[in-house]
Amino acid sequence: MSPRRLWILASGALALLVAASLATGAARIAPGDPMAALVLSVSRIPRTLAAILTGAALAVAGVVMQQILRNRFVEPATAGTPEAAAAGLLAVTILAPHAPIWAKMGVAALSALAGAVLLAALIRRLPPREIFLVPLTGIVLSGVIGAGVTFIGWQTDLMQYVSVWLMSGEFSGVIAGRYELLWIAGAAAALAWFAADRFAILALGPEAATALGLHPRTVVRLGLGVVALVTAMVVVTVGMVPFVGLIVPNLVSRVMGDNLRASLPVVAMGGAIMVLGSDLIGRLLIHPYEIPAGTILGVTGAAGFLAMLWWRPRDAS
């Protein structure tokens, strides 16, 4: 498939999904109905935007993490970053329950950053040829931090919050006024696009990046910042969504390669399609009840990941 056809296909699919998402919900709306405008502006448009922003930002964050850690099989959702964000949120909820929302977000972003930095430090000594050690380390780290968060959540009777952050991400609670933090995640992903060449050069290795006049550490910091910001905003707003940051970047890379400046917009679109599509399936399967998008993604994503491992890319361009 040529990149051009991929673009057309992706845009078409996203447009269809947006239309379907706006038309689907528990409330019946008809053209001309005065309630229709309200339902759309308060509920359906925000929900659709939230799913698009979440998917796009998580997919881009996945690419960024894969480039800076130089490993294809790592993504924020399985690297301990969401658990680290939740740990920060939990701490601020316990210690300063009346802190303003921006302060809580800031703490979540900073602790997500600490989690990402910790992972980067942990994997530095791993042998580079053992590619599965990096994702495994991420899973171990997320298990350890997650266990700590769960323990403290039990002790402080805050498990309800914790499960919202870390269990399957879902969009049924999204209404106008309750999703806007996701724009920050979207902005962070856009920032990543501006630094796309730097991330691509960093993936050539620190030696080649230095020779081309980059400061590898600065680029790594920028990338970890993007990953942390995206993860924290998603965790806070809709809860963590699995597999998007893993499957979409790998599929796009197989078709287009890793020239990020060209591929990141397609990655973002693919992530949006995957999350919005999953949310739509979740809304339709047991209509008018709902299955969380994260649950749908957990099932389809696992199948997709296995397919990805088995399906080898063709060699020629």
């Binding site: 480039q67 060449d197 691509a200 081309l212 006049g213 390669g257 020629a316 361009s317």
Partner: protein, 255 residues
């Protein structure tokens, strides 16, 4: 007139107390091909990496064409010297053309102009890569990938080119073509420092040879002066005979 050449003064390097490079003071002349030779572990790669500011040195200074590599902005240095190391395994999937185009990053920062496109096209041609330009690097052989990395370094079009064992993976035709290309760059005013394992490539193509052993520079000069039976036998701790061909030394290390 600014200072040309690479001025190395008191440069040393150690890893966890083990001395890799003894304090070295050395001038590598501009406008020449300088070959860095020596047995395994002599510190050749370390020296080339320190010059190319890949690692910061614990002591000593290096100046490339008058620019102190410790204090000059790395973006500026990337327009003065290009470096290709031995670790060129890629984690990402790039096409040959995209990799070579990254060699223009120090000049265009991602906004290539006509001269950047021209430099990339020329580097692709120079290394026989035009037919492979659209291929992903992970589909190439080791030698083809090595040529792509060399093309990236050459596309950088810097006054200095520093190559650490560039002949790795290259077949003999491409190895010779690379050395001929370096000679053309030199004839056009370029300066080259190249770590070589095969002494006969140094004998045939270098203007200047620096021999290292156990972290020390032990000889320096034109090939005929450095590549002698006595010096090479001492350098490699094994008897090496040297003949002559076309007025240059011919090292008979395989006999």
């Amino acid at each position: 007139m600014t200072a040309t050449g690479i001025e190395i003064s008191g440069l040393r390097h150690a890893i966890r107390g083990t001395e890799i490079l003894a304090p070295a003071t050395l001038t590598i002349p501009a406008g020449r091909i300088t070959a860095l030779i020596g047995p395994n572990g002599a510190g050749k790669s370390t020296l080339s990496r320190l010059i190319a500011r890949i690692e910061p040195p614990p002591a000593g200074t290096v100046a490339v064409n008058g620019l102190d590599v410790a204090t000059t902005r790395t973006g500026r240095l990337a327009r003065e010297l290009a470096f290709l190391g031995q670790h060129t395994t890629l984690a990402s999937r790039l096409r040959v053309r995209e990799l070579v185009a990254f060699g223009r990053w120090p000049h265009c920062h991602g906004r290539p102009g006509p001269e950047d496109h021209a430099a990339v096209a020329r580097a692709l041609d120079d290394f026989d890569l035009a037919p492979l330009a659209g291929r992903f690097l992970d589909t190439l052989s080791g030698g083809q990938a090595q040529r792509a990395h060399l093309a990236m370094a050459v596309a950088q079009q810097t006054p200095w080119l520093i190559l650490d064992e560039p002949l790795n993976n290259l077949d003999l035709a491409h190895a010779r073509a690379l050395m001929a290309h370096l000679a053309r760059l030199r004839d056009g005013g370029g300066s080259i420092l190249v770590v070589l394992h095969d002494l006969n490539f140094a004998a045939a193509w270098a203007d200047n040879v620096v021999a290292m052993k156990a972290g020390r520079v032990i000889a320096e000069g034109p090939p005929a002066a450095v590549l002698t039976e006595d010096r090479l036998s001492a350098l490699y701790d094994t008897e090496i005979r040297v003949g002559s061909h076309g007025g240059r030394p011919l090292v008979l290390h395989h006999l």
